[in-house]
């Protein structure tokens, strides 16, 4: 459905996203994971073609159902955003206007895309159904103002609003950050339900590996603008399989209620400044397994038989997967 082909998005001389390729099929729940500043939000915006200036796509392209976004007309793009690919932005709970009701927010969305629901009332009814699916009282929520709802509720309303125009894909940027644990659980369950009952393709961007483990089917891991690993969620979380050291380090850095608490280790070092990248593998300064080649040559993404991609000299060598060079 959405194919990203060797995409590079630059902000002046800095490449926030570099040579990223991924393929989202219909019905996937796709997670894009990374720390702050790795380019994942920029990538999410690029999927809808809304990278904010001064950012620009400087190489590669994003294709929606085969058609490149750069070749689409303004009206095609406008139709695509909202009615076919919807986005729930980061901290969506802050995106509500305090002076109008939730129902009014929906009306604005319906007005912007009159072709989706020619009769306003159908759109409103569908939205009420969506509110039930996100486990909110439809009547009360419809009439409520944003100040009357909690942060968790607003996040769910934002998800309902995104789905109100029946998009086939919904992109969520950090859907559970700023929510407490029980609200996170609610959102995870709701997204899983929505995926199965509405058949919508879900793409979400996050730094929270627990969210990924609970919800995602496929995972793409980004570091400093590049894709370092991509595969199914089981492949990426398999401690005994081929993995990028960043992913191992990240998993070990999460304090959790499972596993030994004393085994948690912080990831050493800091995310590199994109304007001053180290030569060779970008993760090498923080990597426990770095070898000589890592400091010199940037590793390519190498697939194994099932399509699991890892960009790491050491990991690929150890498991005997060699890049075609």
């Amino acid at each position: 459905m959405i194919k990203v082909d060797n995409l590079t998005v630059s902000f002046g001389p800095v490449r926030a996203v570099e040579s990223v390729s991924l393929d989202v099929q219909a019905g996937d729940i796709y997670a894009i994971v990374g720390e702050s500043g790795c380019g994942k939000s920029t990538l999410a915006y690029a999927l809808l073609g809304i990278v904010p200036p001064p950012g620009r796509v400087t190489a590669g392209e994003v294709r929606w159902k085969g058609k490149s976004l750069s070749h689409m007309s303004k009206s095609e793009l406008k139709h695509m955003r909202g009615a076919e690919v919807a986005m729930v932005f980061q901290a969506a709970m802050n995106a509500f206007s305090p002076v109008i009701t939730i129902g009014a927010h929906l009306d604005h969305a319906l007005e912007a895309h009159p072709d989706v629901f020619p009769r306003r009332r159908d759109g409103q009814e569908y939205f009420r159904h969506l509110l039930e699916l996100v486990r909110l009282d439809p009547e009360r929520t419809w009439r409520a103002y944003e100040s009357q709802l909690s942060g968790g509720m607003k996040q769910r309303v934002a998800i309902a609003l995104a789905l109100a125009l029946k998009p086939s894909v919904v992109v969520l940027d950090e859907p559970t950050t700023a929510l407490d644990v029980l609200n996170q659980r609610l959102v995870i369950d709701i997204l899983a339900d929505l995926h199965s009952s509405l058949g919508v393709t879900v793409i979400f961007v996050t730094h929270d590996l627990a969210l990924v483990a609970e919800l995602a089917g496929k995972v793409a891991v980004m570091y400093a603008g590049r894709l370092v690993e991509a595969g199914t969620v089981d492949e990426v979380f398999d401690e005994r399989g081929r993995r990028h050291p960043y992913v191992s380090a990240l998993t070990a850095a999460i304090p959790s209620v499972v596993g030994a608490a004393s085994a948690v280790r912080p990831v050493p070092g800091e995310v590199p400044n994109l304007a001053q990248l180290p030569p060779g593998c970008r993760f090498s300064p923080r990597c426990a397994f770095a070898e000589d080649i890592c400091w010199v040559e940037e590793p390519d993404l190498v697939p194994d038989r099932s399509g699991h991609l890892v960009a790491c000299h050491v990991a690929n060598r150890l498991v005997g997967v060699v890049s075609e060079k």
Binding site: S36, S147, L149, V181, R185, A253, S256, V258, V264
Partner: protein, 355 residues
């Protein structure tokens, strides 16, 4: 003597006098102890933290520090207490004055409290930066908050708090706004203060994973809408919770393990994930899958189920072992089938409850 005593504190906001934010809450923190306070958002834990730090005065009850009620202190002893308890806020973007450089922010407390002379202030500040793991350079001191990342700002806030040599740190959701990979470093930093400087910590969070890591060797207090429902040694409470709410929290928290996540999804208890407290009887009775008529009528007493481990529940024995114990994917045992168990899935929430 206990460092901190919260004695039967009840607190209401003037705007909503009907429902108290905290109800008859009592707790104790000993010197050098690591104590965590965990609960969902809106449960009153932040308010409790602020009362402990003396930023607000409880409507009734007492907050005692080293045996003395903090609101009865005057003059020099009041000032001494003021520096002994420091609260670090959740939002690293709001807790630093945007118009002041880092050096000014950190230096103010030191200079005004005569903890450093002007001539060695610079050295002292660099030392402070080093202690919290920031780059100890004069250039860094000249930076402004908007030039730092969230994690760096949080470290500056922590540096400011420990610069006045407190005996108790209250950390209010200090890691919630940070990247998951940054949290451990901050938690380790806070823990190190207990060992190196003898500082006790009251760590407030909604995230059980973080809380378990932080207060290992210490204690956990579980709060539900103004009431402490369970407290005890960290590992004990996490491995053998005896309150249905703690059990729910453990079962609901997302874990970074897809296999375990799938298994838990099948056996998660049918407890409501949101909704305010009940007005009669046990506060949790309207959301509890094990609740019975008695729960809705009588407030449960606090019982000691094992040394140091207390629970406020009528039927603590009903709580099964959680699936997260010892990291094993063990199923949690048969679910209760009493008359009070709601249908599987979600309970209708009391929507539009403002936070």
């Amino acid at each position: 003597m206990n460092l901190l005593e919260v004695d039967a504190v009840t607190h209401r906001y003037r705007a909503r006098p009907a429902r108290p934010v905290l109800e008859q809450v009592s707790l104790v923190v000993r010197p050098r102890e690591l104590v965590s306070l965990v609960g969902e958002s809106g449960c009153g834990k932040t308010t409790l933290g602020r009362l402990v730090a003396g930023l607000e005065r409880p409507s009734s009850g007492h907050v005692r520090f080293n045996g003395r009620d903090i609101w009865s202190l005057r003059g020099r002893s009041a000032k001494k207490w003021r520096l002994s308890v420091q609260l670090v806020h959740q939002d690293p973007y709001a807790s630093l004055n945007p118009g002041l450089s880092i050096g000014s922010t950190l230096g103010a407390g030191l200079v005004h409290n005569k903890l450093a002379q002007r001539r060695n202030l610079h050295e002292h500040l660099l030392g402070l930066l080093r202690q919290v793991g920031l780059e100890a350079t004069p250039e860094f001191l000249r930076r402004f908050p908007h030039q730092l990342s969230g994690g760096q700002r949080q470290r500056v806030a922590i540096a400011r708090a420990i610069s006045v040599r407190p005996s108790l740190l209250v950390a209010d959701e200090v890691t919630s706004m940070l990247d998951v990979s940054m949290r451990v470093a901050i938690l380790d930093l806070l823990r190190s203060f207990s060992e190196d400087r003898g500082v006790a910590s009251l760590f407030i969070s909604h995230d059980l994973g973080v809380v378990r890591y932080f207060s290992r060797g210490g204690r956990i207090l579980v709060m539900f809408y103004g009431t402490l429902v369970e407290q005890g040694p960290t590992e004990e409470v996490v491995a053998r919770p005896k309150h249905p709410y703690t059990y729910l929290l453990l079962e609901a928290v997302p874990v970074p393990n897809p296999t375990l996540a799938r298994e838990r999804a099948a056996t998660r208890p049918p407890a409501a994930l949101e909704g305010g407290p009940a007005s009669t009887g046990c506060a949790y009775s309207n959301r509890c899958p094990f609740a019975e008529a008695r729960c809705r009528q009588d407030k449960p007493p606090s019982v000691e189920v094992s040394p140091g481990h207390q629970v406020a529940c009528h039927f603590p024995e009903r709580v099964p072992p959680p699936s997260t114990a010892h990291g094993n994917c063990q199923s949690p045992g048969p679910l209760p089938t009493g008359p009070a168990v709601a249908r599987v899935g979600f309970e209708p929430s009391r929507a539009t409850e403002p936070q």
